[in-house]
Amino acid sequence: MDDFFILLVSTLDATIRVAAPLVLAALAGLYAERSGVIDIGLEGKMLAAAFAAAATSFVMNSAWAGLLAGISISVILALIHGFACITHKGNQVVSGVAINILVAGLTVTLGIAWFAQGGQTPSLTNDARFSPLLWPGAEAVKDIPFIGGLYTEIISGHNLLVYIAYLAVPLTWWVVYRTRFGLRLRAVGENPAAVDTAGISVTALRYQAMICCGFLCGIAGTYLSTAQNAGFVKNMTAGQGFIALAAMIFGKWKPVPAMMACLLFGFLDAVANRIQGVSMPLVGEIPVQLIQALPYILTVILLAGFIGKAVAPKASGIPYVKER
């Protein structure tokens, strides 16, 4: 029983860590899609931010400088997406895919040119990373059964960016449902003409949403390379941007359900890592490949049939053209 408890705590701990970048990226997607801009480029923005953060952290030896760089590059990419889709009314999917492809190649090319380590950035020292924050009393209560484990492992002991990710959820909820910006954001994704005729600029609103999107993606990418890992590795996002997109849809474009979906994906990932090589009753050892594919299979299944009626913001994906 005790072993099981330890396993459970460590699985939940891993869930929270794995889900953090998903949560950030899903919220990023939420801002974009609520404003009516489909963002397939979450993946690319995260990857670019991961690279920029790792490279900058290494050079400046400062995690904060890395965070700033990660956010900046991600916001710039979000604005490029906006320029293509909002100002020039281009196809949003094509623009997003283009960003993903561009970033996948550019990060490796620049990595080789600058660091000559086969596209990776050099390993970061602890100063250049976001390290775990130990909460007061965590050491003291560590040995108290149950509560001690929960507090020390699950609540305490994560790095700053994890806490930012989970604080971003209520913050986003508050912004979307309780502020003027949120009301307009929701409106512009449903019926931009209504926003336009109310005397509000559709273009400005959508750009603002894209900045929010880029900002959050930047944190997510920075987390991957300077908090979860100690450096940038080629294609290190590995589809997390798409998983986050799926989680956002699964969460019906709402912050809290989207977070829940991210946690579910994170949990599956954590479980998958822990049952590798373990012999299960009845079925025996499950092949590693199958376990690793599990979150993706689940994504397909959930999106195909189990999310009920997911109604996207009505104007999502449609450039706004004044019709008169």
Partner: protein, 524 residues
């Protein structure tokens, strides 16, 4: 006092001169109508007033002061409100949220919501504009949605209210209510501009009227000193026959018989519910009803686009049921021609040239096909002939369908379907978005088809059209036929009540019942 004055407004889009030297004066606290055909420049002019476009030259004076309106924002600030033809509502928002959008009164919503509620309460008291403020806008019936639009404008302090084709989607009763509201607004000093193509409404509610044609203001009249006939003539530029000229029908045997027909949607809701009707050769049967009450499904079922879920359709000795459905081309082979309600979606392919659009559905006909290739010349000649017969302008078979005006597109579709000399002609909204001159022409042709012995089923949301063309009138409500009247005995109020199903009993005593309801209605 003059609320709005326009001086020498010009606006061009490339080579198109949409507004030429337009001048207009509208007195404060009046209802002013603006009429004109499609493309006459009404919408451009109103867009200039509401800040969608800026005029190339000319001045807009609001309450005597020259005002520049470069955006909707500035229009709102100048006290101008607009109720658009297609409502500008966010469906999943509550009424309160819709009203406050763009005028939230602070970065946080809490206070704004309370303030908006109070303000809506005040507007309700002052103008009798009652709406359920916490309902989602998308759940409201169109009449109430429109009221929300009016509230949005008043909430922003509009002293000048522009309504663009406001009655297109309303029942006659809702229209009456709207007009009562407009009169109440007028009494409170609000200036109302009503853009419409319905002459009857101009006569009913306005104080003054201006007529536009070809981008110019061609006339200003006091409503009390003009007539429908004069206005129609001013709009079109020639004498127009408003009444359809037709002999009494000579109905023969039934060409189309429908018994207990139901169509059930994917969500399990009956779109058509146990409909029985028959259409005889040599008569026009009109189907009236507020848009969305099963008329579209009726046309779809009768033309083979959807299969019946229950009941049967008898055509020329063939019976179509759920077990033995036919597709649309087999219906055509049985002599059913269909002029669809939405000509852009179903009537023609806008990216095709006119001659291609003019053979759609009959493109396998021998006349158009050789052994392997289509006979391009025959198709072009055929189209040229149809264009000559139906006065399609410009008569160019190689012009893209999209480049014809709505009326001429409709003529192409009609020409195609009528050229088959069908036994049964199904016609949906034949004059939606069509100019008055073309309407006259289309109506004349429908009557000619009838006289040639076709059974014509006409679906329209325009009551005037239904009443003037039909020999018999059916009224649909929620997928059922709730009444049948002889056209001679029909009037607008009675049909309107049936359309809203204010008439609790269905036929056979429809006439008496409707007459009873009429008196109740009159007291409302």
């Amino acid at each position: 006092m003059i609320a709005i004055e326009l001086r020498g407004i010009n606006k061009s889009f490339g080579p198109v001169h949409a507004n030429k030297d337009v001048a207009l004066n509208i007195d404060k606290g009046t209802i002013h109508g603006i009429i004109g055909e499609n493309g006459a420049g009404k919408s451009t002019l109103m867009s200039i007033l509401y800040g969608f476009y800026e005029a190339d030259s000319g001045d807009v004076l609001i309450n005597g002061e020259v005002t520049r309106i470069r955006s909707s924002h500035e229009a709102i600030a100048a006290g101008i409100g607009m109720v658009h033809q297609h409502f500008m509502l966010v469906d999943p928002f509550s009424v309160v949220e819709n009203v406050m959008l763009g005028a939230e009164g602070g970065a946080l919503l809490d206070k704004g919501i309370d303030k908006t509620r109070e303000e809506l309460e005040r507007l309700k008291r002052e103008y009798g504009l009652e709406v359920p403020v916490d309902s989602l806008a998308g759940d409201l019936p169109v009449g109430l949605q429109q009221r929300v639009e009016i509230l949005k404008a008043l909430y922003r302090g509009a002293q000048i209210l522009i309504l663009d084709e406001p009655t297109g989607v309303l029942t006659p009763q809702e229209t009456d209510q709207l007009f009562r509201i407009l009169k109440a607004l007028k009494d409170q000093g609000v200036t109302v501009i009503l853009i419409t193509h319905k002459l009857q409404e101009i006569m009913a509610v306005t104080d003054g009227v201006s007529v536009m044609r070809g981008g110019e203001m061609v006339a200003h009249r006091k409503t009390s000193e003009t007539s429908k006939e004069e206005l129609a003539e001013l709009m079109v530029g020639r004498k127009v026959l408003l009444k359809v000229d037709k002999e009494a029908a000579q109905p023969q045997e039934a060409a189309l018989k429908v018994e207990g027909l139901s169509v059930i949607g994917a969500d399990g809701v009956a779109r058509l519910d146990n409909v029985s009707l028959s259409v005889r050769r040599g008569e026009i049967v009109g189907v009236a009803g507020v848009s969305g009450n099963g008329q579209s499904e009726l046309l779809a079922a009768l033309s083979g686009i959807v299969a019946p879920s229950k009941g049967k359709i008898a055509l020329n000795g063939t019976t179509i049921t759920r077990e033995k459905p036919l597709d649309a081309s087999e219906f055509r082979d049985l002599g059913v021609a269909h002029v669809p309600e939405d000509r852009h979606r179903m009537g023609l392919v806008t990216a095709f040239t006119a001659d291609e659009s003019a053979i759609l559905g009959y493109h396998r006909d021998e006349a158009y096909n050789g052994a392997i290739l289509m006979k391009r010349n025959a198709i072009v000649e055929d189209c040229a002939q149809k264009m000559a017969d139906f006065d399609v302008r410009p008569p160019n078979p190689k012009l893209k369908s999209a480049n014809f005006s709505g009326g001429n597109q409709q003529k192409i579709v009609l020409a195609r379907e009528m050229a088959q000399k069908p036994n049964v002609l199904l016609v949906g909204q034949p004059t939606r978005g069509v100019d008055i001159g073309a309407i006259e022409y289309i109506h004349k042709n429908l009557v000619a088809m009838r006289d040639a012995g076709a059974a014509v089923l006409l679906v329209s949301v325009e009551l005037e059209e239904i009443m003037s063309l039909s020999d018999r009138i059916l009224v649909m409500f929620e997928g059922r036929i709730v009444g049948e009247v002889d056209a001679k005995d029909a009037n607008e109020r009675m049909l309107g009540l049936m359309m809203a199903n204010a008439n609790p009993e269905t036929d056979p005593n429809g006439k008496a019942q409707a007459a009873g309801d009429m008196q109740e209605g009159a007291e409302l």
